[in-house]
């Protein structure tokens, strides 16, 4: 099985790499300190198995899985056993290894991966669906069309090739651009205040100098966008 390792800790990558080298059935093609780099690799390579750390800054292991349209088999690696229940929600996850990983437990995970008859063809990032109507926006995440209530969106932020759509109830990571989603959002409700941020103007809590507070997020406002923002406000 061709595999990759994703972990922000060099020590963990070295240990998993060594454990893999003791398994004849495994070939480690690459390891990555973050999920974003791995996504680019997955676009160009067929992978059978991913060793994936959950706890990573900016983009967690679960965020990463949500971006995969047709995920290969995944073995989660973590120092935190509390995520085990969440792991059962994903069919692609074949095992869950708690660090420090012992050779015995690692071997068991590989056996599970080998017997799991799971589709392990090319993984592709999810794409935003262009359908939206009324107050709803549909996004494609992991082969599921997920409906988002547009007025519940309070913030959209650009993160490389992805956007984070933050709503009152949940956050969504979608492979798309700020420009594409801006075209789908009503102009009277949403405003691009910075090259990386679109905000729901109704959700502003306060404005201070060159930033706005929305929920708990402090969002920068570009000088060029500030005047448009001020026009939208019902100023006393």
């Amino acid at each position: 099985m061709n595999c990759i390792i994703i972990d922000d800790e060099a020590t963990a990558r070295a240990i998993i790499g060594q454990l893999c080298s003791n398994e004849n059935s495994l070939t480690v093609l690459e390891d990555f300190p973050n999920a974003m780099q791995a996504i680019k690799f997955l676009n160009q390579n067929e992978i059978d198995l991913i060793f994936l750390d959950i706890h990573m800054p900016d983009f967690t292991g679960f965020d990463f899985i949500e971006t995969l349209k047709n995920p290969p088999k995944i073995v989660l690696t973590t120092s935190d056993p509390n995520f085990a229940i969440q792991a059962f929600e994903y069919d692609c996850i074949v095992d869950y290894l708690v660090k420090p990983i012992t050779p015995e437990r690692f071997n068991k995970a590989i056996q599970k991966a080998e017997v799991t008859n799971h589709n392990s063809t090319t993984s592709l990032p999810a794409e935003k669906v262009e359908n939206s109507s009324g107050n709803d926006l549909y996004v494609n995440i992991d082969r599921r069309l997920i409906k988002i209530d547009i007025p519940s969106i309070y913030l959209v932020e650009a993160k490389g090739d992805y956007i984070n759509v933050k709503t009152e109830g949940k956050n969504y990571t979608v492979h798309s651009t700020l420009k594409k989603i801006a075209d789908k959002l009503p102009d009277d409700l949403f405003l691009k205040v910075h090259r990386s941020y679109i905000i729901n103007v109704d959700k502003i809590i306060d404005i201070e100098d060159n930033s706005v507070l929305i929920k708990k997020d402090v969002i920068p406002v570009s000088r060029s966008n500030r005047s448009e923002l001020m026009k939208r406000l019902n100023l006393l």
Partner: protein
């Protein structure tokens, strides 16, 4: 207080001495960086980021066979997530123990 050891590294290396040394070198490089980040974040009251640092450090604590210290690190990480610094002294004492141990390797 329990002492760090290389039992885990020996058990997973399959007798590969070159790998053992490579892993020790990686830990010797990564541990001080994570430690500095932790102290900086705590100094700035960035509890969530400090908790992230503790999360990474606790893996090294377990690799070095410090089982009780690992439990302390888990509890301290949870405290930081609740913006409490309870167990800070105990945790930093563990960091000192590991620092001294790595210097001897």
């Amino acid at each position: 207080m329990e002492e760090p050891n290389l039992s885990y590294i020996h058990s997973m290396s399959g007798g590969d001495k070159a790998f053992e040394q490579k892993l020790i070198d990686i830990i010797k490089g990564e541990f001080p960086e994570e430690k500095v980040e932790y102290y900086n974040n705590l100094k700035l009251n960035n509890y969530k980021l400090a908790a992230d640092n503790v999360h990474k450090l606790k893996h090294k604590i377990s690799i070095l066979g410090l089982e009780k210290s690992y439990d302390t690190a888990v509890a301290f990480e949870n405290n930081l997530l609740e913006e409490s610094t309870e167990l800070q002294d105990e945790f930093e004492s563990i960091l000192k123990t590991i620092t001294n141990y790595l210097q001897q390797l």
